[in-house]
């Protein structure tokens, strides 16, 4: 086998310019794929973290039917205290869960006494909310940043309303809401902070303490609109969701269906579509790499066989088996692919390091100054390299087979 490699490498060195060109082409393809995967992967990860850690959580649990009506924030579809207890019991036994936050959400009127507008109120336990969404404090652009911003009697006002109503920290405002019995109730709050939107300029989400929300809605028990869950490994969020589903399966059943719905962030956020588009683009970029490798190796190996017909005839005449001749050309293709892959990986890693050092920043939605920190998983590098090498060998197969099937007498006559 060592001799086969030696002969293959020397044959590649024989046509230096052609070999260098082919290796460069493959390396360029590998660089393009790896850098693209690193940048888009980093962008995707950054955005997912931004969304899940700022307000969404990694997954959410609702009463069945709530998500379908989420725009109306229906109080009638809140989890009942008994259901909340069932869910909490199920979640307590799952090691993968890092934190959870119960939320009660409702539509309300926001009044500064001079002006009134509508607002979406999120009643939360601040410690739990900040644990489930650790980037939440970074959204508070003015005022108190810690859990004290959401002590009872305080409100975090969305930037949109604060700007429109010229609301300042320390102002008193009123939140008025209709409870599920149809009666109206209100409560005054002290503005503790201004909250920037996580998704765009139109955000109207304000935050108050969970018990203040219960008071406004005159709830007798702990009713919950949703439970946001933070998992230890975002990559395994699907498995965790499945685990929760399995534990809640059969609980609170209606017509044979579970009374609960569990959605991962991807099922709740429109950004999941962008993430899917990025994955699709990555897939097509990889297809392009395959095409580049396939065409360049096929071309160079066809040329190699065509130029060495007499040599093939000679080695066949002196007794080299067709299998060995096949191997000789396959090894040549393998070496080309391997060299291109190694060169491409090394250069791509260099570019990724350089991009990290240059600390490129970008904006997404309301978030500005996000630093692009491209990283690439070893598995991605391995996959791209193996793909290039396998395609190189496959591309060499046809010319190698042709060489192995040559009749020595015909090959020796070739001019």
């Amino acid at each position: 086998m060592g001799k086969l490699f030696k002969i293959a490498l020397r044959n590649l060195r024989r046509y230096k310019r052609r070999t260098a060109l082919t290796v460069s082409l493959i390396a360029f393809g590998v660089i393009f794929v790896l850098v693209f995967v690193a940048i888009t992967g980093s962008f995707k990860q950054l955005m997912i973290t931004q969304i899940t850690d700022s307000y969404l959580g990694n997954l959410q649990i609702h009463r069945r039917g709530y998500v379908a009506s989420i725009d109306n924030l229906p109080l009638s579809l809140n989890l009942t205290p008994a259901q909340v207890s069932v869910v909490e019991k199920a979640l307590d036994g799952i090691q993968e869960i890092e934190a959870r936050s119960e939320r009660i959400k409702f539509g309300a009127l926001f009044s500064t006494f001079a002006e009134t507008s509508n607002i979406r109120i999120n009643g939360v336990y601040p410690e739990k909310e900040f644990a489930a969404c650790p980037r939440m404090p970074s959204r508070i652009v003015q005022g108190e940043k810690g859990v004290s911003a959401l002590q009872r009697g305080k409100i975090l006002v969305p930037e949109l309303l604060a700007r429109g109503f010229k609301t300042k920290i320390g102002d008193t405002v009123v939140v008025v809401a209709t409870n599920k019995d149809g009666s109206v109730n209100g409560k005054t709050f002290l503005v503790s902070g201004i909250l920037e939107s996580a998704t765009g300029p139109g955000g109207r989400d304000g935050y108050i303490h969970f018990e203040d929300a219960m008071e406004i809605l005159r709830l007798q028990g702990k009713e919950v609109s949703e439970i946001a869950v933070r998992v230890k490994s975002l990559g395994r969020v699907g498995e965790t969701a499945q685990n929760i589903r399995a534990r809640l399966d059969g609980e609170g059943q209606k017509q044979g269906k579970s009374g609960f719905e569990i959605h991962t962030w991807a099922q709740l956020s429109p950004f999941a579509n962008i993430a899917n588009m990025i994955d699709l683009m990555t897939f097509f970029i990889k297809l392009m790499l395959i095409a580049i490798v396939l065409i360049s190796i096929l071309n160079v190996m066809i040329m190699a066989v065509y130029e060495r017909v007499r040599e093939i005839g000679t080695i066949a005449a002196i007794g080299t088996s067709p299998r060995k001749i096949l191997s000789l050309f396959l090894v040549e293709g393998f070496c080309l692919g391997l060299t291109g892959a190694v060169a491409g990986v090394l250069l791509a890693l260099g570019i990724i390091v350089a991009l990290n050092l240059s600390k490129l920043s970008f904006s997404f939605g309301q978030a500005t100054g996000l630093i692009l920190a491209p990283t690439i998983a070893p598995l991605e590098v391995l996959t791209a390299s193996v793909m290039v090498i396998v395609v190189s060998v496959l591309a060499s197969l046809q010319p190698a087979y042709k060489a192995s099937r040559m009749e020595p007498i015909d090959a020796l006559r070739h001019v």
Partner: protein, 234 residues
């Protein structure tokens, strides 16, 4: 195999090439026996069938009719893979254009059949290659690539490559055609010496009248027919 036993037997051997509507009879009803250890040449003008006959004996081509036995094997029945193995074990080739692998040194060219065909261990390979390079007086050139060697030197390496597998038979098609007279003569003498030393049968074709006399048996072909064989072991 001892000297003077029959190594090759051909009976009514014929070869016809069909190109479109034209049939060319390259060999017609050729019969002969060649004994082991012979130093034989096929002579004749271009198109007389010398190369065709060598190709048939070398299992590179199949006859259209007749019987051909080489080293006791009915070579007509060998399939591609078995024929390759048979050639690797029993037949060495020397080509008119030397046909050395340009990317391998002289040593590696001679070593090639032992690696790729016979798969011998490295130590044994090295010993055999050095022995043959010494025999063809090319030991001092062993690390040179073919394009650093003269025509005569290349042909010496080709002879060493043909003999390194210890074949029963070496076939050389016009081995001196690309060499000047003095070198051609030296090469033929070298082949003869190797026959004497190793008892390997040498069959070569030529139309170079200056070296024909070096052969012990001279077989003349004309228009695909074997006209006569003359010589000491014929």
């Amino acid at each position: 195999m001892t000297k003077h036993m029959s190594l090759i037997t051909a009976k009514n051997l014929s070869k016809t090439y069909a190109t479109d509507s034209v049939e060319v009879k390259a060999l017609q009803e050729v019969s002969f026996e060649i004994k082991a250890g012979s130093f034989l040449t096929f002579v004749g003008p271009s198109g007389s069938g010398k190369t065709t006959l060598l190709n048939l004996i070398g299992c590179l081509d199949k006859p259209s009719g007749g019987i051909l036995e080489v080293a006791g094997a009915d070579v007509i029945r060998l399939d591609r893979r078995v024929a390759a193995a048979f050639r690797g074990e029993n037949i060495g080739f020397v080509f008119q254009s030397f046909n050395l692998m340009p990317v391998l040194t002289a040593f590696e060219n001679v070593e090639y059949p032992l690696v790729m065909v016979q798969n011998l261990p490295a130590g044994e390979r090295r010993a055999r290659v050095l022995e043959l390079l010494d025999a063809v007086a090319m030991s001092d050139q062993k690390d040179k690539l073919p394009d650093q060697l003269s025509g005569g030197q290349k042909q010496r390496i080709a002879i060493a490559r043909a003999l390194v597998t210890r074949p029963k038979l070496v076939l050389a098609d016009e081995p001196t055609a690309n060499l000047d007279h003095e070198t051609a003569y030296t090469i033929i003498r070298l082949m003869k010496k190797m026959r004497d030393d190793l008892n390997t049968t040498f069959i070569f074709s030529t139309h170079d009248t200056r070296i024909i006399g070096e052969a012990e048996i001279i077989c003349t072909l004309e228009d695909g027919k074997l006209i006569r064989c003359e010589g000491t072991h014929g």
